[in-house]
Amino acid sequence: MGLKKLAAKVIDYNERLENGQASEIKPLHVEKVLEKLRSKSTELEVEIASAKSADKKTRLESKLQIARTHIERAEWLLKELN
C-alpha cells in the first residue's frame, strides 16, 4: 500500500483546491509540520534512551515508528510540492 493512499489524498485535496474548497498548501506549511514531527521524534528517542521498563520502551518505540512514518509522508509531500 505504501504511499498510495497518501497520493490519493493529495489528488482529492487538489480537486478541492480547484473548487475553492481548500486552502493552498505551500512548502513552508509542510516544513513547519515536518519540524514539529522531527522534534517529537527526537523527544521520543531521548525518552526511549532513559526508559527503565521494557514495557515503556516498547510503547515508546511503537510511537516513534508512527512519528517516523509521518516524517516520511511529510517529506514525500514536500517533494511533491516542490
Binding site: 506549511h29 509540520v33 511503537s62
Partner: protein, 616 residues
C-alpha cells in the same frame, strides 16, 4: 415604562413637526446622521474583516497601548459606542483583561472628541452637502460589488456621505428654525443652566444612544446661534454622561467582567463630568487661552466647543489614570466574581454573541471547560485521581495501587457537570448558526460542537463500565482485575497525552501526535481480545467475567477513540493550510495497522540481528 416610550417619542416628534415644519429638517438630519453612523460601522466591519477584533486582543498588553487603541479605533469608526460594545464582548469572552478594557474605554473617550473637530472645523465651515452627494452616488456602485472589501469601502463611503448630509440638514434646519423661534430665549445662565442643560444633554444622548450625534446637534445649534455657548458646554458634558447608557445596555447580557467595564465607564464619565462642572469657569479660561494659542477666533464658538470637549475628556483620563489600580480594585469589590460553578457554562453569554471572533473563542474555551469536567469524571469513574495521574511517571503502577473506591454519583455528576454544559454548547452553536457568519468560522463552530459531543460520548461509555470497575478493581481478583487495570491504564494514558498536547505551545504541537495513541489503542484492543481467549482456555477467566469484560472493553476503547478524535479536532492547526497538511498526513486505520506491523517487523529484525551478532 418601556411600552410608553415609543408612542411618546413618536408623538413628540409629530407634535414638533406640527409646531414647526423646520423641526422636520433637523430631525431628518439627526436620522440621516445616525443612519450614516450605522453604515460606517457596517462598512468598517466588512472592510476590516475582523481586523478590529484581531488587533484588539493584542492592544491590551499595556495600558498605554490600550488607550492608544481606544483613541485610534474610535477616531476611525467615529463611534465610541461600537468600540465599547466590542470591548465588553471581548472582556466577557475572557480574551482581554479588565485593565485593558478600561484603558480602551479611556482612549475611546478621547477618540470621540475628534468628531467635534471634524464637524466644527470642516462640517460647519464648508458646504459639505456638495461632497456628500457624489460620495453617496459613488458608494452605491461599490456596495453592489462582489468583493467584500470593496463592498465595505462602499458602505463606509456611503456612511460618511450620510454623516455629511445629516450635518447639512441639521445646519439648514437650525438656520430656518431661528427665523421662526429664538431658542436662546430658553437659555439659562449660572448653576441652574449648567444643571438643566447637562441633564438635557444626557437625556438626548440616552435617546439617540450616540454622544457623537448629540454633539453634532449641539454644534449645529450653536453655529446657528440657537443655543448659548455656556449652555452648549453643559450640553456636551451631559452628552458624555448619556453615552454610558450604550455600555450599560451592552453589559446586561455580559458576565461580571462586562458589568465591571460598564460601571468603570459610568464612573469615569461621571467623575469627568463633575470635575468639568465644578471647574467650568477655569476650563472656559483654559479654552480661551488654548484657542488664542492655536489661532481660533474668540467668536468661533463651535471650534471653542471642540477644544472644550477635548480638554475635559483628556483631563478626565489624566485624572483617572493614577487611580486605575484603585478603580479596578473597587470594581472587583463592587461586582464580585460569582463562585465558579462547574455545572454552568462559564464563557457563553449574550455579549460574546456579538462578534464571530468572540463567539468562536468563547465556544472553544467552553468546550475545554467541558473537557476538564469530563476528564475528571472519567478518571474518578475509574477510581483514579486526576492530579496523581498527571503527576506520575508510571501510570500502570499508579493504577495497580489505586484500589480505593471513590465515592461519587456518576449519573448525577454527569447530568450536572457534563450534560448541562453540553446543552449550553449545543444551544449556543445553534444560535451562532442563525447569524450570518463567515463559512470558515461556522465550520469551526460546528466542529467544536462535535468535539463536545465526542467528549460526552466518552463519559457515557465510562458510566457503563463503572459498575464492573468497582466490582473487579477494588479487591484484587486475579486475571480479571489485571484486565480491568489495563483498561484503566490505557484510558489514563490517553488523558495524560491529551493534557501534554494542551500544555505544549501551539507552535510546537501537532494533532498528528495523536495518531501514535490511536495506533497504540488499536493494537491493545487486538491483543486484549487474544489475551481474553487465552485466559478463558486456561480457565483463568470465567465465561461470565469474560463476557462482562468484553462488553466493557468495547465501551472503554470507544471512550478512548472518542477522546482522541475530540482532541484531534480541538487541537488541529488553526491555520487552514497547515490543517490541510495535518489532514493529508494523518493515518487512517489501515495505514496505522500497516505502520504498526512494520514497526513489529523492524523490531523482530533488530532482535534477530542482535541474536546473530551475539552468536558470531
Amino acid at each position: 415604562m418601556k411600552r410608553y416610550l415609543l408612542p411618546v417619542a413618536i408623538g413628540s416628534l409629530l407634535l414638533a413637526f406640527w409646531f414647526s415644519p423646520d423641526a422636520q429638517e433637523i430631525a431628518a438630519g439627526v436620522a440621516i446622521f445616525l443612519f450614516g453612523m450605522l453604515m460606517l460601522e457596517d462598512g468598517f466591519k466588512l472592510l476590516g474583516g475582523g481586523t478590529l477584533e484581531r488587533v484588539l486582543e493584542r492592544a491590551t498588553q499595556s495600558t498605554p497601548r490600550a488607550i492608544s487603541f481606544g483613541i485610534i479605533s474610535t477616531t476611525l469608526l467615529q463611534s465610541s459606542s461600537l468600540v465599547s460594545i466590542v470591548t465588553i464582548s471581548f472582556l466577557s469572552a475572557g480574551l482581554i483583561s479588565l485593565v485593558g478594557g478600561v484603558g480602551i474605554i479611556f482612549g475611546a473617550n478621547i477618540g470621540t472628541t475628534t468628531g467635534a473637530w471634524l464637524v466644527a472645523g470642516l462640517g460647519l465651515k464648508v458646504n459639505i452637502a456638495a461632497y456628500a452627494m457624489p460620495m453617496i452616488a459613488v458608494s452605491i456602485v461599490l456596495v453592489f460589488q462582489k468583493s467584500k472589501p470593496v463592498r465595505g469601502l462602499g458602505y463606509a463611503l456611503a456612511g460618511l456621505g450620510f454623516l455629511f448630509l445629516g450635518i447639512h440638514y441639521m445646519k439648514e434646519g437650525f438656520d430656518a428654525f431661528k427665523d421662526q423661534i429664538d431658542l436662546t430665549r430658553f437659555a439659562l445662565s449660572g448653576l441652574l443652566g449648567l444643571i438643566v442643560y447637562s441633564l438635557i444633554g444626557t437625556g438626548a444622548t440616552v435617546i439617540m444612544q450616540s454622544s457623537h450625534a448629540t454633539l453634532v446637534l449641539i454644534l449645529t445649534a450653536l453655529s446657528a446661534g440657537q443655543i448659548s455657548y455656556e449652555n452648549a458646554l453643559a450640553l456636551s458634558i451631559g452628552a458624555n454622561i448619556g453615552t454610558t447608557i450604550t455600555a450599560i445596555i451592552g453589559s446586561l447580557g455580559a458576565n461580571f467582567q462586562g458589568k465591571r467595564l460598564a460601571l468603570a465607564h459610568l464612573i469615569f464619565n461621571m467623575v469627568t463630568a463633575i470635575v468639568a462642572l465644578v471647574f467650568i469657569a477655569q476650563l472656559r479660561d483654559m479654552v480661551d487661552w488654548i484657542s488664542g494659542l492655536v489661532g481660533i477666533a474668540p467668536s468661533d464658538y463651535t471650534m471653542k466647543l471642540a477644544v472644550f470637549h477635548t480638554i475635559f475628556n483628556v483631563l478626565g483620563v489624566t485624572l483617572m489614570l493614577p487611580f486605575l489600580t484603585r478603580l479596578i480594585a473597587f470594581l472587583e469589590r463592587r461586582i464580585v466574581e460569582p463562585a465558579p460553578d462547574v455545572s454552568r457554562p462559564r464563557y457563553l453569554n449574550e455579549a460574546v454573541d456579538e462578534f464571530p471572533q468572540t463567539l468562536e473563542r468563547a465556544l472553544r474555551k467552553e468546550v475545554f471547560h467541558l473537557y476538564e469536567n469530563a476528564a475528571e469524571l472519567i478518571l474518578h469513574g475509574l477510581n483514579l485521581h486526576r492530579e496523581q495521574v498527571f503527576a506520575t511517571d508510571d501510570v500502570a503502577g499508579l493504577v495497580r495501587k489505586s484500589r480505593t473506591r471513590l465515592e461519587l454519583d456518576l449519573e448525577d455528576d454527569y447530568e450536572r457537570r457534563v450534560k448541562t454544559l453540553f446543552s449550553g454548547i449545543v444551544e449556543f452553536s445553534a444560535r451562532a448558526s442563525d447569524k450570518q457568519i463567515d463559512p470558515d468560522i461556522a465550520e469551526r463552530i460546528f466542529a467544536l460542537r462535535d468535539v463536545a459531543r465526542q467528549i460526552v460520548q466518552a463519559v457515557k461509555s465510562i458510566k457503563h463500565i463503572r459498575k464492573n470497575v468497582l466490582r473487579y478493581t477494588v479487591r484484587p481478583q486475579g486475571a480479571t482485575t489485571e484486565l480491568y487495570d489495563e483498561l484503566r491504564t490505557e484510558i489514563a494514558r490517553i488523558a495524560v497525552e491529551i493534557r501534554k498536547l494542551g500544555l505544549a505551545e501551539s507552535k510546537d504541537r501537532s494533532a498528528l501526535w495523536l495518531d501514535q495513541e490511536r495506533a497504540r489503542i488499536e493494537e491493545d484492543a487486538r491483543s486484549t481480545s487474544k489475551r481474553v481467549d487465552a485466559l478463558i482456555r486456561k480457565r483463568d477467566l470465567t465465561p461470565a467475567a469474560a463476557t462482562s469484560f468484553m462488553n466493557d472493553s468495547g465501551y472503554a476503547y470507544d471512550a478512548m477513540r472518542d477522546l482522541i478524535e475530540a482532541a484531534r479536532s480541538y487541537y488541529i492547526e488553526r491555520d487552514s493550510a497547515m490543517a490541510e497538511v495535518e489532514r493529508i498526513l494523518s493515518l487512517d486505520d489501515e495505514e496505522l495497522n500497516e505502520a504498526v506491523t512494520n514497526a513489529k517487523r523492524a523490531a523482530r529484525t533488530g532482535e534477530s540481528e542482535q541474536t546473530v551478532t551475539g552468536l558470531s
